[in-house]
Symmetry: C2
Subunit: 347 residues, 2 copies
Amino acid sequence: MIATKGYAAQSATEPLAPYSFERRDLRPHDVQIEILYCGVCHSDLHTARNEWHGTAYPCVPGHEIVGRVTKVGSHVSKFKEGDLAGVGCLVDSCQECNNCKQGLEQYCEQVATQTYNSPDRNDGTITKGGYSNRILAHENFVLHISDKLPLEGVAPLLCAGITTYSPMRYWKVSKGHKVAVLGLGGLGHMAVKLAASFGAEVTMLSTSASKEADAKRLGAHKFALTKDPEQLKGLTNYFDFIIDTVSADHDYNMYLNLLNTNGVMICVGAPPSPAQIPAFNLIFQRRSVVGSLIGGLPETQEMLDYCAEHGITSDVEVIAMKDINEAYDRMLKGDVRYRFVIDMATL
Amino acid sequence: MIATKGYAAQSATEPLAPYSFERRDLRPHDVQIEILYCGVCHSDLHTARNEWHGTAYPCVPGHEIVGRVTKVGSHVSKFKEGDLAGVGCLVDSCQECNNCKQGLEQYCEQVATQTYNSPDRNDGTITKGGYSNRILAHENFVLHISDKLPLEGVAPLLCAGITTYSPMRYWKVSKGHKVAVLGLGGLGHMAVKLAASFGAEVTMLSTSASKEADAKRLGAHKFALTKDPEQLKGLTNYFDFIIDTVSADHDYNMYLNLLNTNGVMICVGAPPSPAQIPAFNLIFQRRSVVGSLIGGLPETQEMLDYCAEHGITSDVEVIAMKDINEAYDRMLKGDVRYRFVIDMATL
């Protein structure tokens, strides 16, 4: 077994605290990674605090992991010691079903193993994530990381990046499209950067006028204040796509009206209450409301390569491991531009 | 002006009764049609009874019209006296906007003129529909009707047919797909016939076991009783498409769970209450909920030609004009297999 240090929640109500545990011995296809940076995703907080229920404690969150390979199993062919490597939201899947065969491991018919709080499909133990100094994963679930970009800015691409990249590729967002981004947080700021890089005209929709300058710095061409009915009215039937990254309850219908004929509202945020959608509002302009979950492994690698080529990273605030609880509090207040990333050297 | 006989509702609460009125004189691009058959759509009833609000009385419903050309305007090139001809839900549109230019007149940016209860874009008068002995329309809004099929079975294709044909073409329903049809009424029975003709495996989802034999006769390969949780459970993640033709409130979410990865729920029925859709249920399998409105003129012609080639018509019960109120009552009880069609010779 491999001695590992990390931070864990011991219950839904306790702050995260130092925690030592053991990871499995290297299997033949495993890659062992010394973690350098781990992004802090809102899912980490939801899970640590059992807000989605089903959290197994102690819980070590973290699925935006970048590090360096320190050891590889005897059958590993894709990585060697010293390589930069990443691990995202998934560490395993059946690799045999229709979806896995198409590289859609996130939709594995046998249910993929998530990077934390998920039963390992081999031994049933509960996976522990990237708030730790090392991790192991099957080489098929490890990503190659370019040395061209600052690693702390790359870590959030493993979840926030792929979650917005994947649906924009699936629904073919490109030059000539008008794209609205709803919500300027971890996902939203990546959606702005990526949509702009695809050549789309990007409009930031926000409840707060103070976001305008930042949205434009990130690549948005336009900005609209959603609290102003006049601004919204002027955007009726305007957009080809809305990337909805908002996880708080909101009025889907108000935004659906901004979609043009054949427009697609892509939901990557999951509010607690169901969306209320009158069928007429879809029917009258052949509109779609769709969802999308992270991305498969081949597409995640494609996204990382794309970002390396185009110089795209996440805007991050690097924190020490010990400051994670304060970071959670600030995240809840929206006080982060736009992703906390833990420097694992501080562990 | 052209003297016309028909049936109209004089108010939301009165039964339809005989009504004489005048239609405009023939314009240079108009085609004048002696109506032979007119289908009875649920929209007719909603409008006659002002259930969607905004009905102008007297109201002459009817937008599934088949007849014979009796006269053409001086500039008409597409039709001549004696031709069979059809009129569907639209009689005019701007013909200049992006959507009209693409043959998507139903989504006209200037709002298309509907066949009844709609302000004529030229003179502002309120259009009157097919529960009448004759109608006029711009030749671009008149369809060619084959003489190969019984005309009474063709009439409902102008609304029920195109409403189900269009989204299945747009989302490319074809061989190898598993398609569920929800609701076996006017739209549902056309969806079954058309989906089967496209080579898809068709499953009828119904609350009533008595529909099984009929569904299979219409072309469904499978049948599932939606009241039986075991039958539904066995269909989890099964379908590529659900064609949802139900206009009564229902649980969208229960059906969404039957969609496989990338599955699309196509809504052509519009229940009074909004659909309640948890974002997670879209996100976890990259599912879509979409709407679609009838079809444009080029596609309606394509659909009519396709049906003529493949021998597809609506299953109808032909009624006399005077029996329209009884037909509405029976329609409300679901007592029609599957479309009433008025024989206009009985007027």
